[in-house]
Structure formats: structure tokens, C-alpha cells
Amino acid sequence: MEELTKVWTWSLDVAGFHLVFNATTIVMTLTIMGLLIAFGWFATRQTGLVPNPFQVVAELFVETFWNLTKDALDEDMAKTYFPLICSLFMFLLLCNWIGIFPYMEEPTKDLNTTLGLGLMGFFIAHYAGIKTKGFAAYAKEYFQPVFFMMPLNVIGELAKVISISFRLYGNIMGGSIIILVVSHLVYGLLIPPFLYAFFGLFVGTVQAFVFTMLTLVYISVQVK
């Protein structure tokens, strides 16, 4: 059971600060970025009316998320934010699925990854709100419905970041802990593949979709 608390880290002392980097997370994130870039290259290399397999998958992603983005935002804004939404989903899907391979770990098992992505969605949503409505109208929303509700509205906005990032982190981390514990109980026989199928593939897909949809909803709430 010592796999649970073991974390590979790089330590570094810079200008009086003690910096610790989670080596596994960084290496796996870079691996996934490489895989996604390779996927994009293969999908766009020989496009044609008779598509190659990668192009079929890419078209599926693009069409699905283009329709979802178009429904949530209007057409002009959807063109701006669609690449973010689609690539966020593809990145998270690959992050959650890569745990089913031996010696691979999900980067989303680390709170730093999910909190970073949640903060990214938060800042993008508020930037979009300020850009479309102007700063005065944006700031005025915090004083709705009455003046002294402002602290509650600010806390409500900050709680969104916490909730979206802890949801993804808790699901993936809890799933991998359950897989480890049950695998130890049954000596790795018969049960673990089904657990990986459920917690890795099914829950991973649903949570990646939920994270993407919530980021999209936060953007659309801000621009309305």
C-alpha cells in the first residue's frame, strides 16, 4: 500500500524559496501534450473526402463540441472559445484515460493540474465577461440584488474554482485509490480490469465532459 503516499518530486532552491516539482505530473502532462500534437498532425496530414481514421475521430470531436459551444454562446463568440473548449476536453480525456496503461499515472490525480485548469477557466470567463459587457456593467453584477450581497457573490465566484477542480481531482484520485485497495484485496485477480474500465474509462469520460461543460457554462454566464 506504500504506492499511495509515494510521490516523485524534484526539489530546487531558488533565491531563498524551496520549490518542489511533482515529477510524475510534469512528465505525464508533457507526454499527453506530445500525444495530442501527434494526433493533430496525423489528423490533418492527408485530409480528404475519404478520411483517414484520425480525421474521423477529430471530426467527431470538432462537430460535437462545435454544436455544444454554439448552443451555449452565440455564433461569433463560439468561434473564439470553441478551440479552448474542444482542446480542454481532449486533454482531460487523455489525462483520465492514460491511467489504464501500466506505469502511467493520470496528471489529474494531482490537485495542481486540476486547480490550474480551474483557475484558467475562471480567468478566461471573467475576461470574457469584462470584454463583452464593459467593466462597469461587469462590476455592477456583484452588487445584485442588493448592495451588501457583494461579499457573498465574490465568495460564490471563488467557490466555483474550488468545486470544479476538487470534483475532477477527487473522482480520479478516489478511483485510483479504490483500484489499488481492491487489487490488493483480491491479489490482482479477475476484478481489476473491470474496475479500470469503470473508474478509468467511464468516470474519466464523464468527468472530463463535466469539467468542459462547466467551464463553458461559466463563460456563458459571464457574457450573458
Binding site: 499511495l4 476538487f166 470534483r167 477527487g170 473522482n171 484520485m173 485509490i177 464523464v206 463535466v210
Partner: protein
Amino acid sequence: MEFSGADLIRAAALLGAGLAMGLGAIGPGVGEGYAAGKACEAIGRRPEEAGLLTRTMLVGQAVSESTGIYSLVVALLLMFVVQ
């Protein structure tokens, strides 16, 4: 048999982890079951919309699951961080 303060803290943390997970699982369990029941009713009324209903149900369940996930995170913190 002697108990030190650290033992007591460890025992309380483990007990708290179990309580947090067990009590925190009630709400999402009830909520997700209710959502699934309503989705079953809706599919029974309009079977041709089954795909859309299932997708909406899954997303709603994943969102309402988050309170249970918070208690899981708290339980993990109690187990592995409080020593």
C-alpha cells in the same frame, strides 16, 4: 497500556475519516438515485429521447456527486495528512 497524544490524534483522524465518508455518501446516494428514477420515468414517457436524457442524467449526477467527492477528499486528508 499507555496512550500518547499522537495516538489519540491518529485514532480520531481515522474515525473522522470513516464518519466523513459514510455520512457524506448519504446525500449524493439519495440525489443520484432520485435523478436516475426521474430519468427512467422520462424515458418511459418518451423512449425516442433516451440518448439525450441519459447524457443529461449522467452530467447532472456527476455534478450532484461533488458533495460526496468533497467528503472523500476530506477523508483522504484525514487519513494521509493528519499523522
